[in-house]
Amino acid sequence: MSALRKLALFLAAGVVLACGLHLVLDAGMRRIRYGAIGAFNRIADGRVNADIVITGSSRAYVQYDPDIIQAATRMTTFNAGRDGANTIIHAGVLRYYLSQNRKPRLIIENADLHSLSYGYDLYGPAQYTPYLHDQAFYSVVKRMPVLQKAYYLPLYGYVVDDVQFDHYLGLKALFGIQPSESVRNGFEPVNHGYSEALWNRWAGKQQKPISFMLLPYCMEEMGWLLEDARTRGIPCIVVFSPVYHRHLVEIDNRSQVVATLAQLARQHGALFWDLSDLSPVSESKDNFADWLHLNQHGATLFSKLVAQRLAAWIGSGELDLSR
């Protein structure tokens, strides 16, 4: 065999192997039954079918306890929050959820100070890679450059920005290795607390005044998500979740961020709840894991307060929650 033929054959074999390995990893990832990836697989398999769906980033993922909300509202609840996700991913997850599951009666989109100032980098693209060939999901998330490349290039989505080795979890799942579940209906609380030293470190690092950008494309994407829910006839509440109060007073344009989100919600027929300074949650450091994320204690307290509000609001019959 000539050297050129050998070379061509070797390259072809390499491409075939890479594609094959990609398919194997896809299959493994889809078999994961635990953690955030397991929760996503439940969505993909159409095994959720909840009445209330919570979307958002890590703030949603660690702060909304679906069991508490379910107990207060008597409506099945699922937390579809994703760690390190921006509004495009929230919208993609929601669109995918709706394509695979029964239409929910209510959507809660968690918002925070970062909601209108994110970039296009993505935490853990591997967790989304097996689902990119589902058009309901990909048609939305293709706006993320890393996922667009992952769609076309074998193995790309599994290796870029993946220091957590998510694809390794997929390989383990393929061999039936499934650690015990730590996520309940998509919710995974954080157990550690927030210390005075961490607060001091944060305060020392910041250049004051602290302000958050209001980027037009972020507003557009938030509007797109809310409009998608409205078009499908699903009521939506945008909840601005609690921030530790000593941090909150340091933010120069908090009212501007809140007002912009409120206006966006109004514009797209959604309700807006500003719970950023929610008493007593935001008043105590004991409720936080860091300045922006509640820990388990805070999440329980917050979920109870949200559940009470929801129950009262649903009870008032203000909105039609029938499917």
């Binding site: 050998k6 390499g14 220091v163």
Partner: protein, 480 residues
């Protein structure tokens, strides 16, 4: 353009296809155009700086060759001064201004020199050294001045070695642009193997170790002595795999085009002494300093005191070449000191070994030499990596304190990542060991083709799966 990027994966085949499709007379133009594109991806405007230097040195080469001895010397110094001035302005002006200000402040004098906010054009130090090598060789009469400006520009801008070497001499590379390189699938395959091995070093080892090293060096006070020791060793492997990985990709890319670049590394961590180490680490730079600084200063064929001075000057300049920071100068001085001490103590070491009945190649003596050399190199690299001298001193003075041996675990990466890095380093050492044994390589080459494909394929897929890939990932030596 980064070698470990998708852009380069698309760029290289296009350049290769164009190069072999075009007739010979257009190939150098094609390579120059490709090199410009490659460089301009970073910051297009800096091509002007390179263009200016190319014009000066190309003209100087012609003038030196044609002029009388007296005028040749004049043109030589104009060229060298201009090249050093460009490097000085971009790389050292702020450092000089800062230190002049500090010294002035010490004497209560308010001396403020202007500082600049511009970034150092990538690879400027490498480019200037290659340009200077050309002018020096022409001045010495060892090299004919290049008449064709396209060929000269391509020689100093050849994309595989443009931003981080190897620093080529005109006698080795320049004439290769006149050779006719025919398409050779076996050579392409060989280049690809070299590139794959370079990517393995870079993505699997260097960038993984960087997750630990960056965090520990960023805040050494947060870690105990064990972590500091691990970080100093890890950094040595990180920089070796980063830089030699880059060199492998550079040599492999050039090989695919039919060019032979000089080797830059020869298993340096197997060196038994510091002097041997510097003959095996960043060889193209070491040779440059040897030929153009150390030997002109008098080299080692003079009194021990003058030899020591020559070593010290050469190493401190080499340190300064790496960066405008006192940490690099101290790093150079330390290595110069190690080398001088090694030479001074050689007689006593040999006598001591003989007293124990250890021949020069006795395994105990070899192991002791390798361990001592590596340890000294690691200590020196703490200065290389630290952001300032106070941090480096803190690092060194806390290396041996509070050793709590625990699995290495930092915020950016866990122990599993560390284990992968260790396994990859062991694999690297095994491959390098085999490569140093001609019998083993011959045995390997005799394997049937499909059997040899398996490890190559495993290396490729393993690099893809176990590599650490970030959008902002770059090579350490790009900053120099």
């Amino acid at each position: 353009m980064l070698f470990n990027s998708l852009a380069y994966a698309a760029f290289l085949p296009v350049v290769l296809a164009g190069y072999f499709v075009l007739p010979h007379r257009w190939r150098t133009v094609w390579l120059l155009a490709a090199s410009c594109v490659f460089y301009m991806v970073y910051k297009p405007v800096y091509i002007v700086v390179l263009g200016g230097l190319i014009t000066i040195d190309y003209t100087a080469g012609l003038c030196i060759e044609r002029a009388s001895r007296r005028w040749a010397k004049c043109f030589f110094w104009i060229s060298i001064s201009a090249t050093i001035a460009v490097l000085g302005i971009f790389k050292y002006s702020n450092f000089i201004a800062h230190n002049v200000g500090a010294v002035g402040g010490f004497f209560n004098l308010h001396t403020t020199l202007p500082t600049f906010r511009w970034a150092l054009p990538i690879g400027l130090s490498f480019h200037t050294f290659q340009s200077m090598a050309y002018v020096i060789e022409v001045y010495r009469g060892n090299q004919r001045a290049e008449r064709n400006p396209i060929v000269y520009a391509t020689y100093v801008m050849f994309f595989p070695q443009l931003v981080a070497g190897p620093i080529e001499r005109p006698g080795h590379l320049l004439q290769q642009f006149r050779e006719i390189h025919r398409f050779d699938a076996a050579r392409i395959a060989s280049g690809m193997k070299r590139i794959a091995f370079g990517l393995f070093k870079k993505a699997v080892i260097a960038d993984r170790l960087a997750l630990f090293v960056n965090q520990i060096f960023a805040n050494p006070a947060s870690f105990n002595g064990f972590y500091l020791a691990i970080a100093s060793v890890a950094f040595c492997y990180q920089i070796y795999c980063d830089f030699s990985g880059y060199t492998d990709i550079a040599i492999g890319s050039a090989e695919m085009l039919g060019f032979r670049l000089v080797e830059n590394f020869d298993s340096p961590f197997a060196s038994r002494s510091i002097s041997e180490f510097w003959r095996r680490w960043h060889m193209s730079l070491s040779n440059w300093f040897r030929d153009y600084v150390f030997i002109p200063l008098g080299g080692s064929r003079t009194t021990p005191l003058l030899t020591a001075r020559n070593y010290m000057i050469t190493f401190m300049l080499a340190g300064l070449w790496h960066g405008a920071n006192w940490t690099f100068i101290v790093w150079g001085a330390l290595n110069g000191g190690f080398l001088i001490a090694g030479r001074a103590l050689k007689l006593y070491r040999d006598r001591l070994a003989e007293a124990f009945g250890l021949a020069p190649d006795h395994p105990v003596r070899v192991a002791f030499g390798i361990a001592t050399t590596f340890t000294l190199f690691c200590v020196g690299m703490i200065f290389f990596r630290s952001k300032d001298l106070s941090e480096a001193v803190y690092f060194v003075t806390h290396l041996y304190r509070n050793w709590y041996i625990t699995p290495i675990n930092v915020y950016a990466a866990d122990f599993f990542q560390f284990k992968i890095a260790i396994a990859a380093i062991l694999l690297l050492e095994l491959v390098q060991f085999i490569a140093r044994k001609p019998k083993l390589t011959a045995y390997w080459d005799a394997f049937p083709t499909p059997a040899r494909w398996v490890p190559y394929m495993a290396l490729g897929l393993g690099t893809i799966l176990f590599g650490v890939y970030f959008a902002e990932g770059t090579f350490i030596y790009f900053q120099f």
